[in-house]
């Protein structure tokens, strides 16, 4: 036991802190798109319901608002955990940079507040507010979601392009320019990329559920509506995202050359650099495997100079100022995954758009629906891969050019305990969230609502008890509770 205790005391906290941050952020980031985009889809359905007196659209909006409530609640708590973790895992980062890094978060606070307030009003106000008044209470949710995530991404962008401060001779932050901090060089493209990603992921994710339903034969107006609203938004966003992503990659080329070298797998500085699909970097600086497309990386970096464009390779940076070989391979693979899946989703959107343009309705074939059913998960993977590119690509820096991750981390050797607890708790949380959401839709599909005024987990009303297998189920049909 003594040696075990000694071994535990000698645990290096940095990888655990890194792992925990990656895990909790990676989890939270799946809920964010739903929080940001679902309110928008809900309002579209709500608008349609009010404008065309469409009862299916109304039902859809009401159910979506309930799903929204559950996912928002989980997103709110996992987001709170992140604000704890900034200090628990990176105390020296926060001690040094909190007065700069915190500025965008101040704004995020306002938007989050607004979102929480109006989500409560919208969800709880279905019956008692006048229909159009109620509709308008949903609009601040959409706006707050967009501006709130822009603020958070601005903070992350600042880590990639730190600016808006000066350091005194002791290395303390003395002069802060809040406008420069928020609107840092990386902010416009990075926030645009993430907000569009939120709508893409949310759209494909919601649409994939209805696509699955349609594959199982539920092709009624209600399911088609659910699919079309979510998928259309995503389909419109996809080409825009390709453009923004391309501009962002060029920004990285100009401003974070080490990250760019990792993305494109460029060991040596030079021109006529190939775009290597897959493949891996070896410790000796050679690249093995993969499919190089001659000159393409140079050409994409700056089309005006074409294949003559010089790309800085990893050799242009001292070993302790660039990602390690393993990190380079992670970044490059993540990049390929993001771009590859993004392209597939783009082609799927084109398919949808072309059919719609010619036939004035969505594609009906099973193959399209199968692809659409897969699109949600693919979009999530693409987004996660994008974050891996951003975060791992910045290594070893936490604040690019100013502070390294190892200098920011806590010295607390107990981090691994928290990491393990967080993984267990989040695994349970994620599983339960999916089960609960599925349970809600199954109940609704079977025409069962949840009776109002029920005590949270008190006994059911007497009439329902002892009804055999149906005990605890609700007899009232959904339609009767629609206002």
């Amino acid at each position: 036991m003594g040696s075990l205790a000694a071994a535990l005391a000698a645990v290096d906290p940095v990888p655990w802190a890194r792992g925990q941050m990656a895990f909790t952020l990676g989890f939270h980031i799946i809920l964010v798109p739903l929080g940001v985009s679902w309110a928008f889809f809900t309002l579209i359905a709500n608008y349609r319901a009010l404008k065309h007196d469409d009862r299916d659209a109304l039902l859809l909006a009401q159910r979506w608002s309930k799903y929204m409530a559950v996912t928002f609640a989980v997103g709110a708590v996992t987001g709170t955990v992140l604000s704890f973790e900034f200090g628990l895992l990176w105390p020296r980062f926060m001690g040094q940079w909190g007065d700069v890094f915190g500025i965008p978060f101040m704004f995020e606070g306002i938007f989050f507040f607004t979102e929480a307030i109006f989500i409560s009003i919208y969800i709880f106000g279905w019956r008692r507010l006048r229909p159009w008044t109620h509709f308008w209470t949903g609009v601040p949710i959409v706006l707050a979601g967009i501006f709130g995530s822009a603020s958070v991404v601005a903070a992350n962008a600042w880590m990639n392009a730190p600016g808006g401060f000066t350091l005194d001779s002791d290395g303390n932050v003395v002069d802060v320019d809040p406008v420069q901090v928020i609107f840092n060089d990386s902010m416009p493209l990075q926030t645009a990329h993430m907000i569009i990603a939120a709508y893409l992921v949310g759209g494909f994710l919601v649409a994939s559920v209805y696509a699955t339903g349609m594959l199982r034969g539920r092709r009624d107006h209600y399911h088609r509506l659910g699919f079309v609203i979510a998928f259309s938004v995503a389909a419109v966003m996809t080409p825009i995202q390709l453009g923004v992503g391309d501009a962002l990659a060029r920004w990285v080329y100009d401003n974070q050359p080490a990250k760019f070298a990792a993305i494109e797998l460029v060991p040596e500085t030079g021109s006529d650099v190939p775009e290597t699909l897959l493949g891996r970097l070896n410790d000796d600086g050679t690249v093995s495997g993969g499919f190089p497309i001659p000159g393409l990386a140079s050409w994409l970096s700056d089309p005006s100079t074409g294949r003559d464009t010089v790309v800085q390779g990893l050799d242009a940076f001292p070993a302790d100022e660039r990602p390690t070989t393993r990190q380079v391979n992670i970044v490059h693979l993540a990049w390929d995954v993001m771009v590859g899946l993004g392209t597939l989703l783009f082609l799927l959107s084109v398919w949808y758009g072309v059919v719609w343009a010619f036939r004035r309705h969505m594609p009906q074939s099973r193959w399209f629906l199968r692809c659409a059913a897969a699109s949600g998960v693919l979009a999530v993977i693409a987004m996660e891969a994008g974050w891996v590119v951003t975060e791992v690509g910045r290594q070893p820096w936490i604040v690019y050019g100013h502070m390294k991750v190892e200098d920011a981390a806590t010295g607390n050797t107990g981090v691994w305990i928290m990491f393990v607890s967080v993984v267990v708790l989040y695994a349970a949380l994620g599983t339960t969230l999916v089960l609960v959401l599925r349970g809600m839709s199954r109940r609704w599909r079977q025409g069962e609502g949840q009776r109002e005024g029920d005590a949270p987990y008190g006994p059911r009303a007497p009439a329902e008890r002892g009804a055999g297998a149906g005990a605890g189920r609700e007899a009232e049909s959904e339609e009767e509770t629609v206002p």
Partner: protein, 334 residues
């Protein structure tokens, strides 16, 4: 300017204590409400009362964190370095609690509801205890400044922290009971109003007893804060006592509305007294507010944002509470 921001910070903590505190307290009563049969009616009142507002209330904690790390980064780093364990417990408890509450509403089967309800109720006690223990660790001067970690165990398992934790749980229970009397009455359930009235009175007595014991604990364990509580902060302490006694009298005489207001006043002034007693220190006797402060431009931004928040958030908050209190947000639309 650092003083103004410190006041904003304290105001945020007070807001969290009274808004989210009431929600935590409701979780405490949920926990002790008994089995599914017996606890059904109190739980219905609790659910009704907490449902629409808990997420908005919860944001105050994030607000406090962000103001703290933006305006006083060194203090935030020191607190998180030293009080790692209770902060981690609070973070995990907040996850359990939020998820438990949200899921409990969304599932149908009794046994599922009991599991999620249990997670909600247990963590409703755990989180205020951990936060109170953190306050105790800070107040008793156990958090060193300057990027050194204090004792990871003693910093939160010590007389002042235990006092802080127990007092926090008792205070939020008291606050919640006083709220729930009013809520039950609005729901037209005099029996439940009486039920929570009895509990509010009992909790008020508990808070008073803990408070008196607490003075002795602080005298022995947290000299600086004790000294200031009995001198500079004494008027605030007296306000708290007066409000507490007043609330008790009104509760006994069944004046729920006034009782609730005074209970809020009592809890708010306990927290305020702590803040005043710590002045001018953020971490007593090792880090002063002025020394920990961020550059002026940052503090100005913080104040500007707070001003914006008052303009943007407060109206929304008021709308939410008015709708809630008028019973216009009765249940989720289904």
């Amino acid at each position: 300017m650092s003083t103004t921001v410190a006041i904003v910070l304290l105001a945020g903590i007070i807001a969290y204590a009274i808004f989210a505190g009431a929600d935590f307290g409701a979780g405490f009563w949920d926990l002790v409400a008994g089995g599914p049969e017996r606890g059904a009616r109190p739980r219905a009142v609790i659910e009704h009362s907490v449902g629409p507002v808990w997420e908005a209330n919860h944001v105050w904690l994030i607000f406090v964190f962000v103001v703290l790390w933006t305006s006083f980064p060194e203090a935030y780093a020191s607190v998180t370095l030293t009080l790692f364990v209770p902060l981690a417990i609070a973070a995990l408890g907040i996850v359990l609690r939020g998820a438990g509450f949200a899921f409990r509403k969304a599932v149908v089967r009794l046994e599922h509801r009991r599991v999620f309800g249990g997670a909600f109720a247990l963590s409703s006690v755990l989180v205020p205890f951990a936060l109170g223990a953190i306050a105790g660790g800070i107040a008793s001067g156990r958090v060193p400044a300057g990027g050194r970690a204090g004792d990871p165990v003693d910093s939160w398992i010590n007389p002042t922290s235990i006092l802080g934790g127990v007092l926090a749980v008792a205070a939020v229970a008291y606050l919640a009971a006083a709220y729930l009397v009013w809520d039950a009455r609005r729901l037209g359930d005099p029996e439940m109003a009486a039920y929570f009235r009895r509990r509010a009175v009992a909790a008020a007595v508990a808070v008073a007893v803990i408070g008196i014991i607490g003075l002795f604990v602080l005298r022995a364990d947290a000299e600086y804060v004790y000294g200031e509580l009995t001198s500079r902060a004494l008027p605030v302490v007296l306000v708290s006592v007066a409000a507490g006694v007043g609330a008790l009298v009104l509760l006994v005489r069944d004046a729920a509305r006034g009782g609730r207001l005074l209970a809020v006043g009592a809890v708010a002034s306990i927290v305020a007294a702590w803040g005043v007693a710590q002045w001018p220190y953020l971490l007593p006797e090792s880090l002063k507010v002025s020394a920990a402060a961020a550059p002026d431009a940052t503090l100005t931004t913080v104040l500007v944002v707070v001003g914006l928040a008052v303009l943007v958030v407060v109206p929304g908050f008021i709308v939410l509470y008015v709708l809630d209190q008028r019973g216009l947000l009765p249940e989720e639309g289904s």
